[in-house]
Amino acid sequence: MRNFLFTSPWRRQPWVFAWLCLLPALTLLGAFTYLPVINSIFSSFFSSTGSGSTLYTGFDNVHYLADDPVFIKALTNNAWYALFTVPTSVILALTMALWVNQKLKGRSFLRLGFFLPTLLPMVAAANVWLFFYEPNIGLLNRFLSVFGINGYNWLGDPDTSLGALMMLTIWKEAGFFMIFYLAALQSLPSDLIEAARLESPSRWYRFRKVVMPLLAPTTLFVLINALINAFKLVDHLFILTKGGPNNASTLLLYYIYETAFSYLDQPYAATQTLFLLAVLALVSALQFALSRNKVHYQ
């Protein structure tokens, strides 16, 4: 390779070689990431007319965004959705990881059990949960009827439909994040844990002062991923609620999909997408900034 690189013509024009190396990645990223972003920006400010020419619409779409009650609803729904599913699934993941990191019987079986939901595609998981929530033959209502509690239409009620989606998300996500925590727990230096055992009688103190800080990089990684997933995983909506009833369970990305492909309003969908991107970038930046002093990388 070295010889190849330093023989002419590469020696005279090394940038040709550099660009050739970059080409495969650049092509893929360009075609599937940069181009669509630019296209989205373009189409949110211009409207294509039937005759093929484009018309500058300026900030019309942005103004429309602020006045769209469904968009506002999707946004608040998504905020609640993230606020509830992210901490819950992360805490649950950590708890499960701590549990199956101990020496106990059937440990691998438990690990597998916790991880299994992750292996399922979201659509398949949603189908499974459809049978849980189904008002007449659903597992949940059957279980409740044992205690004499009347069945409930979980997905059909605006008060419970979003909650029902959250449950599925937590169930699906916690196992995935558990794997990260489990890996992190197993790579903790054992002498640090032992030193803590000698110094601190309280298990909780050891967890709070030693284990948690050492897990901080993992927690940051998991938090950011959980948050991004809260905005980008909407497959289950297609199966369970379709955003309903009355947009009670609609989420941002699902509404974008509907705008683009059901209402065929691509420019407006592009504006919404840019908004979503901006929100996600902002939140991630904030998370990194806040954790800069809290996260200790070894």
Partner: protein
């Protein structure tokens, strides 16, 4: 009553016996070195004392109290780890105070002990730094200070100096010993380095394959090794062991106890190893290899005939079967026909 007493401690993993019926007494303020080659069980014994492992059988007592089944933090024992085990996310101060905060000592008391410990290990200038900003020697001091502030009667040390360079190690050895005597600490110190054990310890416990080979003062280990293993492990280079002609005894003589003379045991020089202050000569006598330590840098050609002499008091006798030291009467010694 002994400060620390081990009674018949054994540790077994499946078929493998890591420790075999270890009994030991450590007096208050004593510096005890657990010495032995890797895999002899010394670290396992220390971890059992700390409560990080549990023994398969046996008991041990601290000031007469049975602590075999107590949690590590409840035993009144502190430990310095080989890797120092400093918490990377805490400052020097917080590392030292970790145990005191966990035990919820009054703030004033914490600060007082911290000040005292920092002064003892001269780390005042670094108290707000993170462990990553410290040198190896400084990390070592922080780990020591963390053990000191707990004011536990017993301190365990697991090869604490092995990660330091030779010069710093010699210095820390000296400081550690001074500190231990100043504070009257009871120290159980694991090492594979006989120099550390000999120079620091009041009592050396030599372990081999899970058994106590010999236990005593550094002086007694060097002067009268109980077994061939002890004889060859203590002292550098290792003691020469010769087969005696009638195969009844094994004769051991340290390389430093052999001297060159005009006449004596004839042997042929095969190797010279110049060490600066001394030279190690390797010679052969009837296919037996002999190591001789002589002062300075003698100028011999390889293949030269040398004559060895030694004095009777430097001879150690061992039984070829049991490998144990035996003492011979003067009459018997006269009969020993060397080689």
């Amino acid at each position: 009553m002994s400060e620390l007493e081990l009674r018949n401690i054994s540790k077994q993993w499946h078929e493998y016996k890591a420790l075999n019926d270890i009994s030991l007494r450590v007096e208050q303020g004593q510096f005890v070195a657990l010495l032995g080659p890797s895999g002899c069980g010394k670290t396992t014994l220390l971890r059992i004392l700390a409560g990080l492992e549990s023994p398969s059988s046996g008991q041990f007592f601290l000031k007469g109290q049975d602590i075999t089944d107590l949690e590590p933090s409840q035993r009144g024992i502190s430990m310095v780890f080989q890797s120092y085990a400093l918490f990377p996310h805490l400052s020097v101060n917080d590392n030292i105070l970790f145990g005191l905060k966990a035990r919820k000592l009054p703030k004033a008391e914490q600060q007082e002990r911290l000040k005292h410990a920092l002064a003892l290990v001269s780390l005042e200038a670094h108290q707000h730094k993170q462990p990553a900003e410290l040198s190896g020697g400084q990390c070592q001091r922080v780990a020591l200070a963390r053990a000191i502030v707990s004011q536990h009667p017993v301190c365990l040390m697991d090869e604490p100096l092995s990660n330091l360079d030779a010069k710093l190690r010699a210095q820390m050895r000296h400081e550690l010993r001074a500190l231990q005597q100043q504070l009257g600490l009871t120290v159980v110190y694991v090492t594979h380095d006989q120099v550390e054990a000999m120079s620091m310890a009041d009592q050396v416990v030599l372990l081999n394959q899970g058994n106590v080979e010999q236990c005593g003062s550094p002086h007694s280990l060097y002067q009268s090794p109980k077994t061939i293993f002890a004889a060859q492990f203590i002292g550098s280079p290792a003691m020469n062991i010769f087969r005696c002609h009638d195969h009844q005894y094994l004769l051991g003589i340290r390389p430093e106890d052999l001297s060159l003379a005009e006449h004596g045991l004839p042997c042929t020089l095969v190797k010279m190893d110049y060490q600066g202050d001394c030279t190690l000569l390797t010679a052969t006598y009837q296919e037996q290899s002999i190591c001789i330590k002589v002062a300075g840098a003698p100028q011999f050609r390889l293949g030269t005939q040398l004559y060895l002499q030694w004095s009777q008091q430097d001879c150690h006798y061992f039984c070829p079967q049991t490998k144990q030291r035996i003492s011979l009467t003067e009459k018997e010694i006269d009969y020993v026909d060397f080689a």
